[in-house]
Subunit: 401 residues, 2 copies
């Protein structure tokens, strides 16, 4: 963890409480007309007030210029070097839907897709079929049998599913079958290394049978498979930081990330308001809470500037309820920026706020990328946020004489 | 040194002069009533004027969130990675009182303490007995003999002393005897590794005899031993930077730190005014001077906000005398923050000022944490201050063709 073995005796368990609110896709960029970012446009009185009482700065999720996926973005927030601890898409999706991934298992993320009569891809997401359509199709795929492996297909959400393989001699050294473009057929899985031979053969057989099973479907008549991966080995936050950490996240992928980081996942319902109530109910049981807010990222990914502004304004209305807990430390961070004008994740530094009785309260007037650039925390790697959170909570003692 | 071997040919010796003024515990936090830090509260016209003519920024002593002891804090200022070059408490104290620590020697920091009739600790610092009381007690302890080792006890200050061991087969792999709490007995020293067996046995015998020697004392009737350590191996600043560096520090520990960094220690008297006169007298003899100002840290550690403000105001009155030397580079830095409201060292970024004819002079209006957060140097690791100092003095030449 953070490769800071030399600090390991400095972490101490205390009764103090840390809440880390991760606003997915928090950072943005100015709208070309107004020259104001989503955060600068949004009316966020509670966040602004909090900024005035906190230490502020910007974080780099991976490195300047490097845009993280949700996996690396979150691992960095929890203190793991995302360039060292690599996490496969299949493993992430599996853990997110609570599939037990054992040592030696291999998982892949599946997409239903649409191919034409020649087998060329027409839609890589099968018209984004809803979950109620994909669930029975997954049941059909689950009937597929391939010699030498225990094979299961689990629906995730919409057009997405997980292919889970269990058996002897499996490996994640298998190429993806998604060509990333339309107008061409799905790729054949091949091995990336000798140990991937057996698994790639299984995957080819699965894909062939899947085409057969789905051939009468109008939209979801084929599958694409990506991110073959095994369980990553991460040191536990519990041991590394001497914490009893918990995660509250409505979306499966984030629960999965929390699980591999060693957090206890507390079941919750669909909205952030639900997550907050879950936090209130279980506040006595843990000393660290990761709580996840998704809508800002979703709006940014959709390229909808106004929707992202509204998502941030909605977040703002929840801040008073969060503050009622009077946690010793409140961290507000983001796993990456998702500027609406880019309609995607980006590499831009992400606002960070640390609130505790030991923060300078340097009086930032607003919660935004621009104002936080002058904050006392400076611009720091996201992997160092945990150290700051622990220090402000009195959980990171003096180093050296 | 800074692990920048690739830069080693870029360091050049020149006649230019660098003064690094280290204000111990320089950074602070706002007073809850006024929302102004010690630096913001203090009337410091000379420092403020200097800030307006200098490049300013903030430094991280170790990492965000990591609170350094004086050892790591100073090593970082001199360019040593404090996570790599570890320094034991015993070694530090020994060097500070000019005990010659040779290869293979082991030193520990000793505290006189008070135990009750059952041997349970009542006061871990023996009522903070003054030096004049502890000196004769150290002389008594110095009479203790243990087979197979040359053993010496040296008074440091107040209730503190150094136990110095010289002999064959010694090791610093010995546990501390200070339980860190009262109401329990002192711990028995044990070995942390097989090579510590002999030394831990010696320490147990010493502690037993010490109890006997001191048994009739009212306050200082027992000893606690911490930080068993040998001489750390540090590359010399002299060689690494091609400097002829000198240290002027009234307090022993800081002289010790300068010694292991390869500086020449210039004897001085008790106050900062004395240190400044020493600097003036020896200004022709070196090209780099580390000069140490202690009172800000002492007041911060006492939790005395007003006293820290006064200590900073007192420092300010010395700045004109410092500037009379017209050094090519004046660096004002701190080894760590010591916010009075925390009454301890802290992890908060520390103001840094670099004055030379090559600084931007960006016109910061005041010398404070908040204003320096927006300075041109940004927030940087303290280990990089030396590079800046050398560069501004023309002692760090162009890298690469």
């Amino acid at each position: 963890m953070i490769d800071l073995d030399v600090l390991k005796d400095s972490f101490v368990t205390t009764p103090s409480k840390i809440i880390m609110l991760v606003v997915d896709g928090l950072g943005g960029l100015p709208h070309p007309d107004t020259r104001r970012s989503e955060l600068e446009t949004a009316h966020t009185p509670s966040l602004d007030r909090l900024a005035g009482e906190s230490a502020c700065g910007l974080t780099l999720p991976v490195l300047p210029g490097v845009t993280p996926g949700s996996g690396p973005g979150h691992l960095a927030l929890f203190g793991y070097d995302p360039l060292k601890y690599l996490i496969g898409r299949g493993a992430l999706e599996s853990l997110g839907i609570e599939i037990e991934l054992r040592e030696g298992d291999v998982a892949a993320r599946g997409n239903f897709c649409t191919v034409d009569a020649q087998g060329n891809l027409v839609d890589r997401r099968a018209g984004r079929i809803p979950t109620e359509v994909s669930v029975p199709l997954c049941k059909d795929l689950n009937e597929i049998q391939v010699d030498g492996v225990e094979l299961n297909v689990y629906p995730v959400e919409g057009y997405r599913f997980v292919l889970h393989l269990r058996g002897e001699g499996l490996s994640d050294q298998v190429t993806e079958t998604d060509p990333q473009i339309t107008g061409v057929p799905a790729l054949e899985a091949t091995s990336l290394a000798p140990q991937g031979e057996k698994t790639s053969g299984i995957v080819r057989q699965f894909a062939k049978q899947a085409r057969e099973v789905l051939k009468h479907e109008e939209l979801a008549n084929m599958v694409l498979l990506r991110g073959f991966s095994s369980l990553p080995h991460l040191p536990s936050m519990r041991d590394s930081y001497k914490l009893n950490p918990a995660a509250i996240a409505a979306y499966p992928m984030y629960r999965g990330l929390a699980t591999i980081a060693g957090m206890t996942v507390i079941p919750t319902a669909k909205t952030f308001a639900d997550e907050l109530e879950t936090l209130h109910q279980h506040y006595g049981e843990h000393d660290f809470f990761y709580i996840h807010y998704k809508p800002a990222d979703a709006a940014g990914e959709d390229g909808n500037f106004d929707a992202k502004v509204r998502a941030l304004e909605e977040l703002d209305t929840h801040i008073p309820r969060l503050r009622e807990l009077k946690a010793d430390v409140v961290v507000i961070a983001g796993d990456h920026s998702t500027p609406a004008i880019m309609a995607s994740h980006s590499w831009h530094p992400v606002p960070l706020l640390v609130h505790s009785r030991w923060t300078l309260g340097e009086g930032m007037e607003s919660f935004s990328e621009r104002s936080f650039a002058g904050g006392s925390l400076g611009t720091l790697p996201a992997t160092q946020i945990m150290l700051l959170a622990l220090a402000h909570a009195g959980k990171l003692a003096k180093f050296g004489p």
